[in-house]
Structure formats: structure tokens, C-alpha cells
Amino acid sequence: MSNAALEFVEADGYGEIFRAAPESVRRAHGVEVCDVAGATCILLGAAAAT
């Protein structure tokens, strides 16, 4: 199995985790997700750390 396939499934898995954040959680804690150039960016807002 190619290393690329192993990378893709992990990246897809993390992407699904990031997108699973319920809307109520996103609003209350400033969680944001964006997709750029095929990558997934996850931001946990400062409110969540308090």
C-alpha cells in the first residue's frame, strides 16, 4: 500500500473530525474550520481554553 494512501486516509479522517464539531460548540467556543489548497485548518478559539 502506498504511503500516499495512508496519508490521504489520515487527512480525510482529521477533516471529518474537524467538521464534526457541532454548531453549538462552534458558536460557543469559537471553533472554525477552513479548507485551503486541499488542506484542512482547525482553529480552537480562545474562549474554549478558558
Partner: protein
């Protein structure tokens, strides 16, 4: 895992405008961030990140294996797949196991309804002790979200959850499995690393995490 970028460069070239877009996203949130950079990404990315002030830090080791049956694991814990009704328990164990803020429990609980995910829990009697997930797509499985609450560590729970997920992957007809953990260094404990190797995974490569400048 939080405040980070995953998969950068795996699906094609990455332009400066896209790096700027990523940077603006995190700066708007007022935080530094990390980019996990695979050796499969375009080779120009690492030097371009360095030019922007990123520094390579603690790396993750990428592992792969087939779906042949795993070695037997001895544990006093009981391993069960968690149905949708146990999502909240799964989320709670993951949040506690990773030492994440409370927000993470509800978040990880939501995976119980997410397509592609199969969740597992370890129990000491009736008390939930550990958690782990299998995510499957296009015939390949990824084993992630392995967490054990502090009072139940070193009981063999994670090794047994690994084995349960590998067996399920075989039953599902998957072709291969991937997982990862922090690189092995002299100054960091490596229980997770040892569990993964014992489960029959092979080291593939190190993937550095580039930390953004302050």
C-alpha cells in the same frame, strides 16, 4: 491536534496566496498554529515555510500495516464497540484522556453519528477507561483518537483497542491501515509507540510539525 493544518500539499502545489490565506485564518483567531508536513508534499514547501519563520518541531511517526490478524493482547479491561448511544461516553473519555477542554467531549461525541467512523471503548468493570476510533474510506483504514484516562493507564487497554480495530478492519474487507504517534525520543515516554509496533505496524517515515512564528 488543535490549531493546526493537516494534509497541506498532498493534493497538489501550494501557492504563496494559499499560505497567506492559511496565515490570515489563524491570525484572525489570535493564535499560533502548526502545519504537519508530509514528506509526500512538494519539496519546496519546507524551505518556503522556513522563509516565513516556521520552525520544524516535534515530529510524528507514520505507520502502516495490512489487516492480517493482530497478536493477542492480554488485558483485564473489556473492549466493546460503542454504538451511537455511547457517543457521549466516548467523547468524555477522549477529552479526559487527552487533557482537552470540556468543549472537546461534546465534539468527539458527535463522531458516533459520523459516516466512516467506528468507535471503541475499554471498560474496567462498568467504568469506561479508554477509547479509540477506526475511520475507513476508499478501502483504507485510519486508527486514531486513542485515549486512556489517567487512572486506567498501563492496563493494556490501548493495545487491546488497537487489536479490536485491526480485527474489524479485516472483517470490513479493508486493504491497509494507517496510524501515527509522536516520534520516539530519549526524553519522551513512548507507550503509544510501543503499542503500535507490538500490534504489527511498520514505521514508514517521520512527519515534522512546523510551528508558526509568534
Amino acid at each position: 491536534m488543535l490549531n493546526r493544518v493537516n494534509g497541506l500539499g498532498l493534493r497538489g502545489p501550494v501557492g504563496d496566496a494559499e499560505l497567506d490565506e492559511i496565515d490570515a485564518f489563524f491570525r484572525a483567531g489570535g493564535t499560533r498554529y502548526a502545519i504537519g508536513l508530509s514528506p509526500l508534499a512538494p519539496p519546496d514547501l519546507a524551505p518556503r515555510l522556513a522563509e516565513r519563520g516556521f520552525e520544524p518541531g516535534y515530529a510524528w511517526m507514520k505507520f502502516g500495516r495490512g489487516v492480517e490478524p493482530p497478536p493477542e493482547v492480554e488485558t483485564a479491561l473489556r473492549i466493546e464497540e460503542a454504538g451511537a448511544d455511547r457517543g457521549a461516553v466516548f467523547g468524555s473519555i477522549v477529552a479526559r484522556g487527552f487533557g482537552l477542554p470540556d468543549v472537546a467531549a461534546e465534539w468527539f461525541a458527535a463522531l458516533a453519528d459520523r459516516p466512516g467512523f467506528r468507535l471503541f471503548l475499554a471498560y474496567d468493570g462498568e467504568e469506561p477507561a479508554g477509547a479509540g476510533a477506526l475511520f475507513a474510506r476508499d478501502g483504507i483504514g485510519w486508527l486514531g483518537i486513542a485515549a486512556t484516562v489517567p487512572e486506567h493507564r498501563r492496563k493494556g487497554g490501548q493495545g487491546a483497542i488497537l487489536a479490536a480495530r485491526i480485527r474489524l478492519a479485516g472483517e470490513l474487507g479493508l486493504r491497509a491501515l494507517a496510524t501515527e504517534t509522536g516520534e520516539r525520543t530519549a526524553d519522551r515516554p513512548s507507550n503509544s509507540y510501543r503499542n503500535i509496533v507490538r500490534a504489527g505496524f511498520e514505521e514508514r517515515y517521520l512527519r515534522p510539525n512546523y510551528a508558526s512564528p509568534a
